[in-house]
């Protein structure tokens, strides 16, 4: 189907191990206070499954494949859109003292990391 890429079993294993490792390390850095947005955010990330659904649906050649492919895109799109909406909403609620919106200032990041220690 995809003429530029073929991923054999061993290469797939490489990808799985390295991606799993990267995920473990990156997620391990997330503080407990953000675990709910993290969960909904990672939930959003696996919404990428909608891309697989689109590939299946566009290649569908029978009514049965069209129905199941439609279902895959419908569910995948729900996963991605819903996951994004709730994560974005929750993260906007986390404010620093003084009512300032969570900015991108270096000082604020440092202050938070200092507090954690």
């Amino acid at each position: 189907m995809n003429s530029t890429l073929h991923i054999g079993g061993l290469v797939a294993l490489y990808i799985f191990v390295l991606a799993g490792f990267a995920g473990w390390v990156i997620i391990g850095r997330v503080p407990a206070i953000l675990h709910t947005p993290l969960m909904s955010g990672s939930n959003f990330v696996h919404g990428i499954v909608v891309v697989g659904g689109l590939s299946a649906l566009l290649n569908a050649s029978t009514p049965q494949e069209q129905v199941i492919g439609f279902l895959a895109v419908l569910l995948g799109a729900g996963n991605a859109a819903g996951g994004y909406a709730v994560t974005d909403r929750m993260l906007a609620m986390f404010q620093a003292s003084g009512g300032k919106a969570a900015g991108r200032k270096r000082g604020a990041v440092k202050a938070f990391q200092a507090k954690k220690r």
Binding site: G23, M39, H46, V49, A80, Y84, A85, M90
Partner: protein, 483 residues
């Protein structure tokens, strides 16, 4: 040649998406950068989805006559699925977040299972190994779908009681084994090792049926307070299913994103289980409420009730207060009033902090979100390991709607079912006020020695009503701000 350029573009878009996902998650390591993190990941998703329409230039010959219909179907599915979920995500209450996340997660699992179904029924998987991977992804995705729907129903109150059958574990094991055996049989039939008495599609449908039933059976017996672990497990499952289907579709973006989420879900599952002092297997296979026994050691002392107003005034004259919120606070919708009280105390120069236990709430970190929603700044919210030593120097610990997470029996009483669980050391504060509806026990069904301590007073009542009285009492003092 005509097919080369689109697939190259899809490949590059997928690479961008995978990179942006990881970069976005990296930015979640601080509440300051996290909002931009999800937006970065969102850009990655948008790029990947738009690029997917380039598959249209590269469809198989059999699908070519249906192309325009399929594109239309895809647009409708994206619009309807995305639109409904977006709307529900924008309007859902923060207390209902766990069931919403469970539902979105189930959708992802269902999508992975549906992709597997297209591959299996269309006989598209090449070779026994690819077929086995497709089946594995189908199994995990389908279990995640039905399990998440049950988790949603339990969290939403559609299913009230944990349903436990006699010999449930044996039944679950049999359903799992039968489904696995069917999977092996399908691989055998597809590669002409056996001839099946029924057609392959029938076997495939039966396989999905078994997986869905297993997800239901596995989730039904698990109690409400164990949900943080269950939601984390299904998040990991869906990630894994997506990664496996990514391999089948030869799409590295799906493989990477799925595996990252799988690892994230596994890590969170282990963290939650550790915070509850139980193994993951213990949560899933044995059921806490059914096995918990009363600790034997007798508890000395008595319960000493106190009026809300008196407790409020005592806090106003304290130098430092640590608040331990539990799920009971959210049930009583008391977060807003709590923060109002905190602001009054702060105006009087009292040092107020929040101590949040990892399993406060129905999913990891839910209490932090509920406090943030009420306007509590994140620099006032501390996690267990960061604040536990501070209780000893604190004048007042205010426990609202929490019980087992402050039970000192976890530290001292070896016969207690929660022995060894990390707890907040509220009992070490000079004074403890416990706001509670009545004299009932916590989820673990055990007596809390903290309540009987010499330094502890009970403030009975609905958390919100109690907080309103505390606020009135503090205001009535009429003290100038910042003494």
């Amino acid at each position: 040649m005509r097919a080369l350029l689109p697939s190259l573009a899809i490949g590059i878009a997928g690479l961008m998406a995978a990179f942006l996902f990881l970069f976005g998650l990296l930015r979640m390591s601080s509440p300051v950068t996290a909002p931009s993190g999800i937006r970065v990941a969102g850009v990655g998703m948008a790029v990947a989805v738009l690029a997917s329409f380039l598959y249209a230039f590269d469809v198989s010959a059999a699908a070519r006559p249906h192309l325009w219909v399929n594109i239309g179907l895809a647009a409708v599915a994206l619009g309807v699925g995305g639109g409904v979920a977006w709307w529900s995500g924008r309007t859902v209450a923060m207390t209902a977040m766990p069931q919403m996340v469970a539902l979105y997660n189930g959708m992802g699992g269902g999508a992975a299972a549906a992709i597997a179904a297209v591959e299996l029924l269309g006989d598209k998987a090449q070779g026994a190994a690819a077929l086995a991977v497709t089946l594995a992804g189908a199994l995990i995705g389908a279990v995640s779908l039905s399990g998440s729907v049950i988790a949603w129903a339990k969290l939403d109150g559609v299913i009230q009681q944990p349903l436990r059958l006699k010999g449930q574990q044996v039944l679950n094991g049999l359903v799992m084994l039968a489904t696995l055996a069917l999977g092996v049989y399908i691989v055998g039939v597809a590669h002409a090792a056996f001839t099946a008495p029924v057609g392959l599609p029938v076997l495939i449908y039966a396989f999905f049926g078994g997986a869905l039933v297993f997800g239901v059976l596995m989730t039904l017996p698990i109690g409400g307070a164990d949900m943080p672990v269950v939601i984390s497990i299904y998040n990991a499952f869906t990630g894994l299913a997506v990664a496996l289907e990514g391999y089948v579709l030869q799409n590295p973006a799906l493989m990477i994103a799925g595996m990252v989420v799988g690892a994230a879900g596994l890590l969170l599952t282990l963290l939650m289980a550790r915070a509850m002092n139980r193994s993951v297997g213990n949560v899933v296979f044995t059921h806490f409420g059914a096995t918990a026994k009363q600790g034997k050691s007798a508890i000395k002392g008595e319960l000493k009730p106190m009026a809300p107003g008196d407790a409020g005034i005592a806090m106003r004259y304290a130098r430092s207060v640590i608040i331990v919120p539990g799920y009971g606070l959210a049930v009583a919708q008391g977060q807003q009033k709590l923060y109002e009280l905190v602001q009054l105390l702060q105006a009087g120069g009292v040092n107020v902090r929040f101590a949040v236990h990892p399993v406060a709430g129905r999913m990891p970190g839910q209490m932090d979100v509920l406090l943030a929603e009420a306007g509590v700044p994140y620099d006032l919210i501390f996690q267990l390991e960061d604040i536990n030593d501070a209780f000893a120097d604190t004048d007042v610990a205010l426990v609202i709607g929490a019980n087992d997470v402050v039970n000192p029996a976890a530290r001292t009483d070896k016969s207690s079912p929660i022995f060894g669980m990390p707890i907040l050391n509220a009992d070490r504060a000079k004074q403890v006020f416990v706001v509670k509806r009545g004299e009932g026990k916590g989820y673990a069904g055990i007596v809390n020695a903290l309540f009987y301590g010499d330094n502890c007073h009970m403030v009975y009542g609905d958390a919100q009503a109690v907080l309103i009285k505390m606020i009135e009492a503090v205001k009535s003092l009429g003290l100038p701000a910042a003494a």
